[in-house]
């Protein structure tokens, strides 16, 4: 991991959290569908990052989000779950030794792999997030509906951002 990767990731962290906190926080469709673009940061962290470091980064990211959302612990737990799914999915779908790409982005891994990866990670993240927020199973259909609609919205924004970056890189 060279210093360029670290710088790029720090820049990405700041940019994504800035967009999330100051723009997307105020955005929701009928209070049902909310995009959480910041998960993209954890999604595209380098492949060879140690597990502990990944968890620590996810923890700090979630904690930062929580301080701005005033929901201390909710985003943190969701990010930890996201990190766990990321590790599982990568270890199941890819041979870790044979990976020659630096990070699991859309441009590097192709649309099919990346979209499946993003859908799974975002889904788990949102399930944890919304159920911790509701903290009960009585309004199950409402919470599930919110989760699924938000997954669609988040996935859309994530793919959009990835396409823009991808094109810029290749250009």
């Amino acid at each position: 991991m060279n210093s360029r990767t670290i710088l790029i990731n720090i820049f990405r962290w700041i940019a994504l959290l800035f967009v999330q906190i100051f723009l997307l926080r105020n955005m929701a469709f009928y209070n049902l569908s909310t995009p959480f673009i910041y998960v993209l940061f954890i999604l595209v962290l380098p492949f060879h990052i140690p597990n502990l470091l990944l968890y620590v980064i996810a923890f700090i990211t979630g904690l930062t989000l929580d301080t701005f959302y005033d929901t201390l612990g909710v985003h943190t737990s969701a990010c930890i779950a996201l990190a766990f799914v990321r590790i599982l999915f990568i270890s199941v779908s890819l041979n870790r030794e044979a990976i020659d790409e630096p990070e699991p982005s859309l441009g590097n891994m192709g649309f099919r792999w990346f979209s499946l990866y993003a859908v799974l990670c975002i889904f788990v993240h949102h399930v944890v997030l919304f159920f911790l927020e509701a903290f009960k199973f009585t309004s199950l259909t409402y919470t599930l509906g919110r989760t699924l609609l938000s997954v669609v919205f988040t996935l859309f924004t994530v793919l959009l951002v990835e396409f823009i970056f991808h094109n810029r890189k290749s250009a």
Binding site: N51, A58, G73, A78, F84, L132, F135, K136
Partner: protein
């Protein structure tokens, strides 16, 4: 030990996940008012449910004493209430006769046997001559509503001829304009929630929803709310109206009744028989 270490490091992702996720959940519960309240209240609910189960048994064992004390208390309170209502303001007396103001006293009694499905229903209660109950005393139900009259009395028990009996007629008035009528049951109507008010002259304007109260004669204190008019167009063919009334009290769940002891009942009765004899 080495194997354990290998095991831990192989599945480190999972163990890290457990540790960090637990920290996240703890943070959530400790720092968010709503989530904390839900957690504590659901744990409290488990403890509370256990205690509640226990309490149900305890309360059931004490039920007899509680019921008796409540019934006695109600009787005392109702007696006081009637004393306030029964003060005769037209009577001008120099001597303040506080005893005479108390025209009605109530005796609480428990219903032993009750029926609502027969043509002529009867109620048996657990108070009798020993408790001061006499024939033809009026009986009212707790809350709102009338029950009937005492039919027969023995040493410890009494039977009541309730409204749900073709023999029973109770003198009632319309609350808003004092039109007299008599409350009866029977005649094709065997619904214990309904009764009829008969003999109200046709010129009175009665609307659905008007309240029917007792008239004050026949042993009942005046002003006991009996029921609400639900149908004014019951045709009978004579020059009187018949109103369908939905009763306030439910005869099928009657557990306690109050027997009304009228201080002047004997006096009124002897006076009326005297008039009859002279005729």
């Amino acid at each position: 030990m080495r194997n354990l270490w290998i095991f831990l490091s192989r599945y480190n992702a999972f163990f890290f996940f457990i540790i960090f996720f637990t920290v996240g959940i703890i943070l959530t519960i400790r720092n968010n008012v709503y989530q904390r309240s839900v957690t504590f209240s659901s744990t409290n609910e488990i403890v509370g449910t256990a205690y509640k189960r226990l309490n149900v048994v305890k309360r059931y064992l004490n039920l007899v004493q509680v019921n008796d004390s409540l019934a006695a208390e109600n009787a005392a309170l109702k007696t006081q209430l009637l004393a306030i209502n029964a003060i005769d303001s037209t009577q001008v007396t120099k001597v303040k006769d506080t005893i005479n103001h108390q025209q009605y006293t109530l005796i609480s009694a428990k219903v032993f046997k009750n029926s609502v499905t027969l043509t002529n229903n009867m109620i048996t209660i657990n108070k009798g001559i020993k408790d001061g109950i006499m024939k033809d005393m009026a009986v009212i139900s707790p809350g709102k509503g009338v029950v009937g009259f005492v039919q027969n009395v023995s040493e410890n028990f009494a039977t009541i001829r309730p409204l749900l009996n073709q023999e029973t007629a109770i003198s009632v008035v319309l609350k808003k304009d004092n039109a007299f009528g008599s409350l009866v049951w029977g005649d094709d109507n065997f619904d214990y929630r309904k009764a009829y008010v008969k003999e109200i002259p046709n010129h009175y304007k009665v609307k659905v929803g008007d309240t029917i109260i007792t008239s004050g004669s026949g042993g009942f204190p005046r002003g006991i709310e009996v029921g609400r008019v639900t149908n004014t167009s019951v045709s009978t063919g004579d020059s009187f109206m018949t109103l369908e009334v939905t009763l306030f009290n439910n005869f099928s769940t009657l557990q306690f009744v109050y027997v009304v002891k009228d201080k002047f009942a004997e006096e009124v009765k002897s006076l009326q028989t005297e008039v009859k004899n002279e005729q």
